[in-house]
């Protein structure tokens, strides 16, 4: 009798948990759908397992296995094509598997950008910096202390990050920013609220609007 009670209780807890998950997923879909409508974007809530293939250069979309994007929101905001989404993947170490979920936004531009990674420094980065290894150091001590910047082309990193952009990023919300040809992704290891998508767009557009005018001319010359 006691065993049956425990099993029924566990089943009820499981069902309750599933209901809560479904309700919160439905609420999220509704909030994102509303956000899309207010910005004139298309909203597709269905999971898409091939989504990462559209962006082969962004390593964050090719981690682990059982990958899929959902709640994909696409369209134009201002001058740029935007694609915002939630992303799921799983990692395993033999017995245990772990789920990872994050949100991201990809902005497509007509500028032929080069690879560049900008993210906030973690403990290991700070330790590596102390030993003189790791990222590109900038003249702003505050920026270099806070941000890890990596690019195969050092000059490109300096061109994209003039003094005004460094100051802007120091005052902006935290995102991992990755540049690839004509595309920039902004993400962090958590699910965004609708307002976070706006912040991510603002950060990317803030960087692009602060590109030195001569660099912009060079890039537009190449892009044409």
């Amino acid at each position: 009798m006691g065993h049956i009670f425990i099993i029924v209780l566990l089943v009820l807890i499981g069902v309750g948990f599933l209901i809560v998950v479904q309700i919160s997923a439905a609420k999220r879909r509704q909030a994102l759908s509303q956000w899309c409508r207010s910005r004139g974007l298309q909203f597709d809530p269905t999971p898409n397992c091939d989504f990462g293939d559209r962006y082969p250069d962004f390593s964050c979309l090719h981690q682990g296995n059982r990958r899929h994007a959902q709640n994909v929101m696409e369209g134009r905001i201002g001058k740029h094509q935007i694609c915002a989404f939630d992303y799921h993947y799983e990692t395993s170490n033999g017995k245990n598997s772990q789920s990872h979920d994050f949100s991201a936004i990809i902005l497509t531009t007509n500028l032929p950008l080069k690879p560049l990674l900008i993210r906030h420094k973690g403990v290991f980065d700070r330790f590596a910096s102390l030993l003189g290894f790791g990222d590109i150091e900038f003249e702003s001590a505050a920026f270099s202390k806070e941000f890890h910047v990596a690019s195969p082309d050092r000059r490109w990193a300096f061109d994209v990050l003039p003094q005004t952009t460094m100051e802007f990023l120091l005052d902006s919300p935290k995102f991992v920013l990755e540049f690839q040809l004509c595309q920039i992704i902004a993400y962090r290891n958590e699910i965004f609220l609708p307002a976070d998508f706006d912040s991510a767009i603002a950060v990317i557009e803030g960087i692009l609007s602060r590109l030195p005018s001569s660099l912009l001319q060079e890039l537009q010359g190449v892009g044409e």
Binding site: G132, E137, R154, F158, S213, S214, L215
Partner: protein
């Protein structure tokens, strides 16, 4: 037997570390040279613009001979300079001051300000200034990294043993930058 391995391994590890530090210093020195060459290219671009700019202004402002001659002279001096970055910077700053005066003179001639050729040259000059500042910033970053290696332990030992020399920073003014007004803080402003 084990002691024999240790005796061989220690000098081998030291040799590898030494080679890595030496190569990093050589790489740093070469990067400084390359980025200095970029600055040189951008400065040449500015020298090439100046004769056209001077002749365009001359067409409208014949009475400003002194300013025009000063710019031409400063350009000749800067072009002839083959010295250190600091000495080059001194000549470039004289040229920048001359160019600022030239642009200020042009402000007093509405017909010149409306001239399409002058406007195109002014835009090209602004673009070139931007390129110079980008190249300068990258050069100074490379010099800073290189000097850090020259002064940090243990690479400073390798640097001094092989005579690696410090490089100078390159600090120049921007034509578009205006000088800050001098504010006298000693006297309180007059009350109205």
């Amino acid at each position: 037997m084990n002691e024999g391995y240790v005796l061989i391994a220690i000098p081998l590890v030291l040799l590898v570390l030494f080679a890595l530090m030496y190569n990093a210093l050589v790489r740093g020195r070469n990067t400084c040279d390359e980025s200095w060459a970029d600055i040189d290219t951008e400065l040449k671009r500015r020298y090439d613009l100046i004769p056209n700019l001077v002749s365009t202004v001359q067409g409208y402002a014949k009475h400003e001979r002194e300013v025009l001659e000063r710019v031409t002279q400063a350009r000749t001096t800067a072009m002839a300079n083959r010295g250190s970055p600091q000495s080059q910077a001194k000549d470039e700053n004289t040229l920048v001051q001359g160019l600022r005066q030239l642009l200020a003179v042009a402000e007093s001639y509405p017909e010149l300000k409306a001239n399409q050729n002058y406007l195109a040259l002014q835009a090209e000059l602004a673009n070139t200034e931007d390129r110079i500042q980008r190249a300068r910033r990258f050069y100074n970053a490379n010099v800073r990294d290189y000097c850090n290696r020259l002064e940090s332990f243990p690479s400073n030992l390798v640097a001094s043993a092989f005579g690696f020399q410090r490089r100078e920073f390159f600090e120049i003014e921007d034509v578009s930058q205006r000088e800050a007004p001098v504010v006298n803080l000693a006297e309180p402003p007059a009350m109205r």
